[in-house]
């Protein structure tokens, strides 16, 4: 009735047609290459990559087409071999316009020369970071944070525990589930290589126990690896949230405003670990990923897709959407983004493409009845209803004090709200306003300090002259 839980709050979101149950049995199939891919240069958090190719260039599969611009950034590779037809812009599912490289496929699938690591088991931390960075690996659960940045703990911090996220708590998504089943060996090998490279003594793969087959497969594969174990987690959304997963597995709370590394943990998605393994063992950069297509489509499935493939190719492979489809989602139904334009490309963070029906249409908002369901659902132990009313009354300072900046936008509060209030939406807006204000305040303070310094300097100069 109350359900076991390993982290505060959380919910059991409902699923519609072609959810996990229907889709988890569908093996990963490779989506046939399309004739033209559009590869965005900004598929990660941080600075967009800078294009290294120009129109008319011939590129090979796996060739770098965009270089990382800064520490928090990631390079981008060609996912097909062919000719660059345009270095311009494209629209992502989120509606953002980002720089992109369009390549016409020559269907030769000609790889660049790959450089597998010569001594994969004896890598130093720096070498491993370099390989991961060069392979363009980012968090593949959807957050798309450059992985090598995560694996570079700041001064005085060290990675004690590696936590591998196989929770896949979002409804409908089964890509990680299939990956764990079909590439169990590679995933375990990847974790082992990372443990060796970074000197991590302990690693845990957390998997929600609605994936019993994956748990047993992983447990078998782990049996020989010292310090690595699989932990079954009771099903609860958002188990896959970094802070929630760390708490569920280690009972350590990531401090407010802190990072997982502050409690000695690094969380990597199973997809990310798989990509790391591929990069270290075979030298293959991140050019493909597994994506779930589910919901109101004729034949749901899990596909190995080349980055840059237009979403419509996925729908075509699934036999098209059902007539009752009202909304298309990139990502999971809880945190994903709805989109209309099916020409947008699959990116490194596209964990799923869903077609949802009328249940995804927003009902009318009514007054908050103070039922406190949102408080019970919040995995960050915040008081959503209160923060929401602060934000709606434009009392941003109070909202900040109430902790709105800690909101992880998981959508659990909005899901449970019987008054159908758009809580998550309101927090996103509130956070934006608070950030803008902070930036403005910081800029003002900096300007004032600069002016003060200038005046001081002028004064001193005068004094000297006198």
């Amino acid at each position: 009735m109350f359900g076991a839980r390993l982290f505060p709050g959380g919910i059991h979101p409902r699923e519609g047609l072609n959810g996990k149950a229907e889709n988890s049995g569908n093996p990963i199939q490779e989506l046939p290459a399309v004739s033209r891919v559009i590869i965005p240069l900004s598929q990660h958090i941080g600075a967009p990559a800078t294009a290294t190719v120009k129109k008319g260039d011939h590129v090979l599969m796996g060739q770098v087409i965009g270089e990382a611009a800064g520490f928090v950034s990631a390079p981008v590779h060609a996912s097909v071999s062919g000719t660059v037809v345009e270095v311009g812009n494209c629209k992502l599912a989120s509606g953002a316009t980002v720089p992109a490289v369009t390549i016409d496929n020559d269907f030769q699938d000609e790889w660049v020369e790959l450089h597998p690591s010569e001594h994969p088991e004896n890598l130093t931390a720096e070498e491993a970071q370099q390989i991961i960075r060069n392979a363009g690996i980012v968090g593949m659960g959807g957050a798309t944070f450059p992985t090598q940045v995560k694996l570079t703990p700041g001064a005085g911090k060290s990675i004690e525990k590696l936590i591998i996220n196989g929770a896949e708590c979002e409804p409908y998504l089964t890509a990680d589930h299939r990956l764990m089943l079909e590439h169990t060996g590679e995933i375990v090998d990847g974790v082992r290589l990372l443990m060796l490279a970074f000197g991590v003594k302990e690693a845990v793969i957390g998997v929600e126990d609605n994936k019993k087959d994956a748990i047993s497969a992983l447990t078998d594969a782990c049996s020989g690896v010292e310090g690595l174990r699989v932990q079954a987690l009771p099903v609860r959304y958002p188990q896959g949230g970094e802070k929630q997963l760390i708490y569920a597995i280690t009972k350590r709370e990531v401090p407010v405003g802190g990072l997982p590394i502050d409690v000695g943990c690094v969380v990597l998605n199973v997809g990310t670990v798989f990509a790391c393994d591929q990069a270290i063992r075979m030298g293959i950069p991140l050019v493909r990923r597994v994506t779930t297509v589910g919901g109101l489509v004729n034949n749901p499935g899990n596909f190995l897709v080349r980055i840059g493939t237009p979403v419509k190719a996925l729908f075509e492979a699934c036999g098209g959407t059902l007539p009752s489809c009202k909304q298309l989602i990139s990502g999971g139904p809880m945190m994903g983004i709805s989109f209309k334009d099916t020409d947008c490309p699959v990116t490194k963070g596209t964990s799923g493409i869903l077609a949802l029906g009328k249940e995804s249409i927003y009902p009318e908002e009514t007054s908050c009845i103070r039922c406190a369901r949102c408080l019970d659902a919040c995995p960050m132990r915040l008081a959503p209803s209160r923060m929401d009313s602060y934000i709606r009354h434009e009392r941003y300072d109070d909202a900040e004090k109430a902790g709105v900046m800690n909101c992880i936008e998981c959508g659990a509060c909005t899901y449970v709200c019987p008054a159908k209030r758009l809580l998550t939406q309101s927090f996103r807006m509130g956070k934006k306003v608070i950030n803008t204000r902070k930036k403005a305040a910081a800029a003002k303070a900096a300007a004032e300090a600069a002016q003060l310094a200038a005046e001081k300097a002028a004064n001193e100069k005068e004094k000297k002259e006198a």
Partner: protein, 316 residues
């Protein structure tokens, strides 16, 4: 492909529960007590329930019509208020008592503060208190049941009053079935327990409030009576305690938000109920205890807000 697609912010799935069906479920949970009251007190009970519910719904409708707000009659919350108000009246009350009460509950306590969710005191209970203070003779007289003297005869003493003298005068079975003098909704404990259990299982109310409420009263009676178990059990089965603990103290708008706060709410209600029952003018303390805790709720909320995830560690 492009037909009628929409763009909305996440999350894209929502729970089925809505304000309307929560209120409907509360009505459903209140139904057994209502049926029991009609069986116990006859048509007079039905008449009062109808008057009360109709007045509440009509007042809400008219207020929103006049002020130009969108009508919220469809969310059933006025019906819940109406039912609770009626359950708090004796079967002998004249028809205008629930009418005046309903207007006070909906207009003065609920709508003037912004409607559903904005009231800081339970509308039905506040209205009952106003009626109680104003027309004590009409509202605080408790008729016998149909099976025990008939509704026309006013009982000299409620079970609570009888028990104050000698607990063995009251039969436990009568308390359970409701064959005792009292207000409409409070007498039949089986019906109330049924409704309360339903609400807890459906996770509509937080079990902490009724559990702490009833538990506190029980413990306090046990302690002050020199561990007279019989008295303590009968005390929690007498009067409006069950009705209050399951249906009134758990009113969303007027109880604290956090779990800690709800435990405090239950404890506070229990202590004040005991104190008023045992020492004050009024034989029944439940409603005033709940009202007082309603008033305390904003402060409880202020000091019991849960610490944000990750904040505990920092101080440790």
């Amino acid at each position: 492909m492009q037909r009628h697609l929409t763009i909305t912010p996440s999350p894209h799935v929502r729970d089925r529960a809505s304000t309307k069906n929560i209120m409907q479920e509360v009505c459903l949970a209140l139904a057994p007590a209502g049926i029991a009251s009609v069986i116990l007190f006859g048509a007079a009970a039905l008449k009062l329930i109808c008057f009360s519910v109709l007045t509440c719904v009509l007042t809400e409708y008219l207020y929103q019509l006049i002020t130009g707000h969108k009508s919220t009659v469809g969310d059933w919350s006025a019906v819940v208020t109406g039912l609770m108000l009626a359950y708090n009246l004796p079967a002998t009350a004249p028809w205008w008592i629930p009418v005046v009460g309903g207007v006070i509950a909906i207009l003065l306590v609920k709508q003037m503060f912004g409607g559903i969710g904005s009231n800081f005191m339970n509308p039905a209970l506040t209205a009952r208190a106003v009626l109680f203070i104003s027309w004590g003779g009409l509202v605080a007289s408790y008729p016998n049941t149909v099976y025990c003297g008939g509704v026309d005869t006013i009982s000299s003493a409620t079970p609570l009053a009888l028990m104050a003298a000698d607990p063995s005068q009251v039969k436990f079975m009568d308390l359970l079935l409701g064959n005792v003098p009292g207000i409409l909704g409070e007498t039949c404990k089986i019906a109330l327990l049924l409704g309360g259990a339903y609400l807890i299982i459906r996770q509509i109310i937080d079990w902490r409030i009724p559990a702490c409420f009833i538990g506190t009263v029980f413990v306090l009676y046990l302690l002050t009576s020199g561990f007279n178990f019989e008295l303590a059990v009968k005390e929690i089965f007498a009067g409006g305690l069950m009705l209050g603990a399951f249906f009134m103290a758990t009113d969303y708008a007027t109880c604290p938000l956090s779990r800690k706060g709800r435990i405090l709410m239950g404890l506070g209600c229990g202590i004040f109920t005991f104190v008023i029952r045992a020492y004050a003018n009024y034989p029944e303390g439940t409603s005033f205890a709940i009202l007082f805790m309603n008033v305390l709720t904003p402060l409880i909320d202020r000091y019991t807000m849960p610490k944000c995830f990750g904040e505990v560690k920092k101080h440790a």
